[in-house]
């Protein structure tokens, strides 16, 4: 029997499921590491968008029973001046140092911290601190006339943000079929259900930080820098993270503030952000305006593409929403222009949110493709097929493994695409029915990763790496990978992650963890196998070439079976091996290769719209994905369900409003920022092509956390058009966008 097929690709239940379902998985705010109960900290945030702090009035606070301390920029240099370092050892969400000066750049900036023995006191005291300001002119509105506008050169992956090839104007002048429209996407927030939380515990010059972060190594280096410590004196623990979706990716000032407070007070300090804090403390997806122009000949072949994105950044955070990057690579087109502008506004900072750039960018591009298909009188799937290419349009390289045409075929069949009718003509009872589709894609990234593997006397394999499972299933996937290489069951593998003291690995972002650890685990398994073979020879065994099998209490190869107790005599240490890779893929400065790496997919949506009330429902979505080899069918499907659910939220519900006068977010709560709930989500149909990409890593997996969110909003918007004949070019699409024009 081929044991390998028993592990990779199988729907193995999560190895951490027993902890998560019994409330015993400890997230950052759940940790109780010391006898001393932590002090509770609550942030004081700026109430103005621009100006200076002239003072704090603490008179209402000082007498509070259990109040301990108020900290601010008036307490001297608590935190070293943060600069994103040239060596890339950490990436901060904002290049500003909390409590460094009296300057205020946006509403919600952290300007003070209240520490008290009890949480109730800290909350009451934070409300009672009166801040005095001297306000200065703020640029808040998107169209502020005097806002500085920048043309950033590179995205944080090193990819070019201003791209031009061929001659777009000349091609447009000759074009027979052209569409041009502006699409907008709103401010959106990640809203993981776990708010960010930091518990800092000092022991002399060493600090342990229990931090809700998507990157323990990044966080460690950031805290070390801010606290002026050697990185060895910082340990970040994050064994469980309650979702992140990007807002816990780069590190944010609150982690430093908690560490600084604990140092000053010489006591453990726990800082848990409130839901409202989350809206201004750890990023959001910025509003975008995207003008897309497409031209095609009568056969539907693209002759010109232009995608201009206008967005903004805060004065202290440099995130750019890179909407046009997908456009630069996806369809064959010789004349192309992609540009990104950002205005500098006095708003909180943006940051990557699940498929940054790709999700809002494909809303615009894939809506425009739908409009072009309509103009050409062509089936939207057929239009995509005619512009399909096996060559990465940015650099002329071949894709390592691209089966997008199969995704279109499979998706069309699964959704019943043949049922689709002309816009506004399909009625069932009181419902207007429509079908729409879009292409999905996401880059393949890999970063350097090291792994330690250990085999102990009872036949248990231990795999250790400083990565984190934010809900993706990485605990289980690591167990499966190691089990696969030693032809054993995932039950015999113990997974140690969520600790920056372990061999370094990537942060959980960019859908890159599985591919990165795949290469490192494969290498560590090879090293451990060689070590074990040498050990067998040393104790007098004769070996063939058959692979090693960890089989309960014995190590087997071919006909040979050696008890672990003989391999590792009493008193000897477990057998350890380290392996890894320094290869980088998908980022600037990566491995020189003649291939390009991307995941692809196709999303199809059916919508039903109440003819009288305009209420939009999505009874079915189908996603077919080409994401390389699937390691765990169960957790992979769950990620796709989650991404498609994000897409429903983006298409129909999610929007944060900002008040252009005060610079405040108007709806910073889960009661007023709508996310999908159980009753909003109907049939989600997922198929994985499951074709390994061994050029990318030895397990053949590419990432899959983000791609299922890409294209989802365009597929729904296109289905809304098909149902009603109404083209909505902004998100979210609400019933009031439809009510007036609904066909009766």
């Amino acid at each position: 029997m081929n044991l390998e097929s028993k592990v990779i690709g199988k729907p193995v239940s999560r190895v951490d499921g027993r902890l998560k379902t019994t409330g015993t998985a400890q997230y950052s705010a759940d940790q109780r590491p010391s006898e001393d109960r932590p002090m509770h900290a609550v942030l004081v945030k700026s109430g103005i968008p621009s100006g200076r702090i002239t003072g704090f009035d603490l008179s209402a606070v000082q007498g509070m029973d259990g109040f301990v301390r108020f900290l601010s920029h008036l307490d001297g240099a608590l935190i070293r001046s943060i600069k994103n370092p040239a060596d890339g050892s950490f990436a901060a969400g904002e290049e500003y140092t909390p409590f460094e000066s009296d300057r205020v750049d946006f509403v919600g900036q952290h300007i003070g911290l209240v520490v008290a023995r009890a949480l109730e006191t800290a909350e009451a005291a934070a409300k009672a601190v009166v801040v005095k300001y001297e306000a200065s002119t703020a640029r808040i509105a998107f169209d502020s006339p005097d806002a500085e506008v920048r043309q950033p050169i590179l995205y944080n992956t090193g990819e070019e943000l201003q791209v031009s090839r061929g001659d777009v104007d000349a091609a447009l002048a000759k074009a027979t079929h052209t569409v041009q429209a502006t699409y907008t996407t709103p401010i959106e927030h990640h809203n993981p259900i776990e708010p960010s939380a930091t518990l800092a515990v000092w022991d002399g010059d060493h600090v342990t930080v229990y931090d809700a972060t998507q990157g323990s190594v990044n966080d460690k280096n950031y805290v070390a820098f801010g606290m002026s410590l050697d990185p060895e004196n910082v340990r970040v623990l994050n064994p469980f993270i309650g979702g992140g979706f990007g807002c816990k990716g780069f590190t944010w000032p609150h982690s430093l503030i908690a560490a600084a407070a604990a140092r000053v007070l010489d006591a453990p300090v726990l800082l848990v952000l409130s839901r409202k804090d989350m809206y201004t403390s750890c990023g959001h997806r910025p509003y975008t305006e995207q003008e897309v122009t497409l031209a095609a000949d009568t056969d539907g072949v693209l002759t010109a593409t232009r995608h201009l994105t206008d967005s903004y950044r805060s004065p202290v955070g440099d995130h750019v929403e890179p909407c046009g990057l997908t456009t630069a690579m996806l369809y064959r087109c010789d004349n192309l222009e992609v540009a990104h502008n950002v205005r500098v506004l006095n708003r909180p900072s943006g940051t990557p949110l699940r498929s940054p750039g790709e999700a809002p960018g494909t809303f615009a591009l894939e809506s425009a493709m739908d409009e072009l298909a309509e103009k050409l009188g062509m089936d939207p799937v057929e239009l995509r097929r005619r512009n399909h290419t096996d060559i990465d349009q940015r650099n002329g390289r071949k894709w390592s493994s691209k089966h997008l045409l199969d995704c279109y075929d499979r998706g069309a069949e699964r959704i019943g695409w043949a049922r689709r009718r002309a816009p506004g003509t399909w009625r069932e009872g009181k419902d207007l029915v429509g079908l729409g589709m879009a292409t999905a894609c996401y880059p393949g990234y890999r970063t350097p990763t090291q792994t330690r593997l250990t085999l102990d006397r009872d036949g248990t394999l231990h795999v250790a790496v400083a990565v984190q499972d934010i809900g993706t299933g990485l605990y289980t996937v690591l167990a499966q990978m190691v089990a696969d290489r030693f032809r054993t069951s995932p039950d015999t593998v113990r997974v140690l992650i969520g600790d920056s003291d372990l061999p370094p690995g990537p942060l959980a972002g960019g859908s890159m963890t599985t591919a990165s650890v795949a290469a490192a685990v494969d290498d560590a398994c090879r090293v451990l196998s060689e070590t074990l073979r040498a050990r067998l020879v040393k104790i007098g065994k004769t070996l063939g070439n058959e692979p090693l099998v960890v089989d309960g209490g014995a190590l087997r190869t071919g006909a040979l079976s050696v008890p672990m107790t003989e391999l590792i005599p009493t008193g000897s240490p477990a057998i350890a091996a380290e392996g890894g890779t320094n290869d980088i893929y998908g980022f600037a400065g990566g491995v020189e290769t003649d291939k390009s790496f991307y995941s692809f997919g196709a999303i199809f949506a059916e919508v039903r719209i109440d003819r009288d009330y305009g209420i939009i429902r999505v009874p079915k979505m189908t996603g077919v994905f080409d994401v390389g080899r699937v390691i765990n069918a169960k957790t992979a499907r769950s990620q796709m369900l989650g991404g498609m659910t994000f897409g429903i939220g983006m298409a129909l519900m999610e929007e944060t409003f900002i008040d252009d006068k005060t610079g405040r977010f108007v709806n910073p709560s889960l009661g007023e920022y709508y996310v999908p709930v159980n009753a909003d989500v109907h049939e989600l149909d997922v198929e994985m092509l499951d074709i390994p990409d061994y050029d990318f890593n030895p397990f053949g997996a590419r990432g899959l956390g983000e791609i299922s969110n890409v294209g989802a909003s365009a597929a729904i918007a296109n289905a809304v058009y098909n149902a009603t004949g109404i083209r909505v070019r902004h998100l979210p699409i609400r019933l009031d966008d439809l009510l007036e024009g609904l066909p009766r």
Binding site: S13, K20, T24, L119, G243, S638, L670, V681
Partner: protein
């Protein structure tokens, strides 16, 4: 902590253990569980009654512990996720959540399971649409909804089978 003038005395049973506690009148049941008693299985996602992560049972009914003042819990019976099952001795609902992958990050999961258990006792119809409605007070940002519905339905069917047996 010593009782001070503005503290209140309450007695309540949590997972069948009786506690006599001197509390700050501002304390919510959620913070009492988490910060005083270290029962951290119950989660805080919003503190405003908007996410369901803090769902517990009070006298057998599901409540949002972040909206419940501890001072009003004198004499009640509270059940939290710690009183449902343990990693070595799972409740069937916990088993079903694992089998159907009814979570990803796991942060909403205690609340989902406490809600799901209450739903078994509430008068909801048998179909999946009823479960979606009944479970819509528990947000799962990871989007495990279809799997949550599958888990709850499996347990419900199991209960029906048991009843008929």
């Amino acid at each position: 902590m010593a009782a001070s003038a503005n503290q209140l005395r309450i007695n309540l049973a949590i997972n069948d253990t009786v506690h006599g506690l001197d509390i700050d009148p501002r304390t919510t049941l959620l913070d009492l569980l988490r910060e005083t008693l270290d029962l951290t299985g119950t989660k805080k996602g919003c503190n405003h009654g908007q996410c369901g992560a803090c769902t517990v049972h009070v006298n057998g009914q599901r409540v949002l512990s972040c909206l419940t003042l501890a001072a009003l819990c004198d004499g009640v019976q509270v059940r939290t996720i710690e009183g449902i099952g343990t990693p070595d001795d799972l409740h069937p609902m916990q088993d079903a959540f694992i089998a159907h992958d009814g979570f990803q990050c796991g942060y909403c999961t205690s609340g989902q399971i406490m809600s799901a258990l209450a739903v078994l006792e509430e008068p909801w119809g048998p179909d999946a649409a009823a479960i979606k409605e009944a479970m819509s007070g528990n947000i799962c940002r990871c989007g495990a909804y279809p799997n949550i519905v599958a888990a709850v339905q499996e347990v419900r069917k199991g209960l029906e089978v048991d009843r008929n047996a």
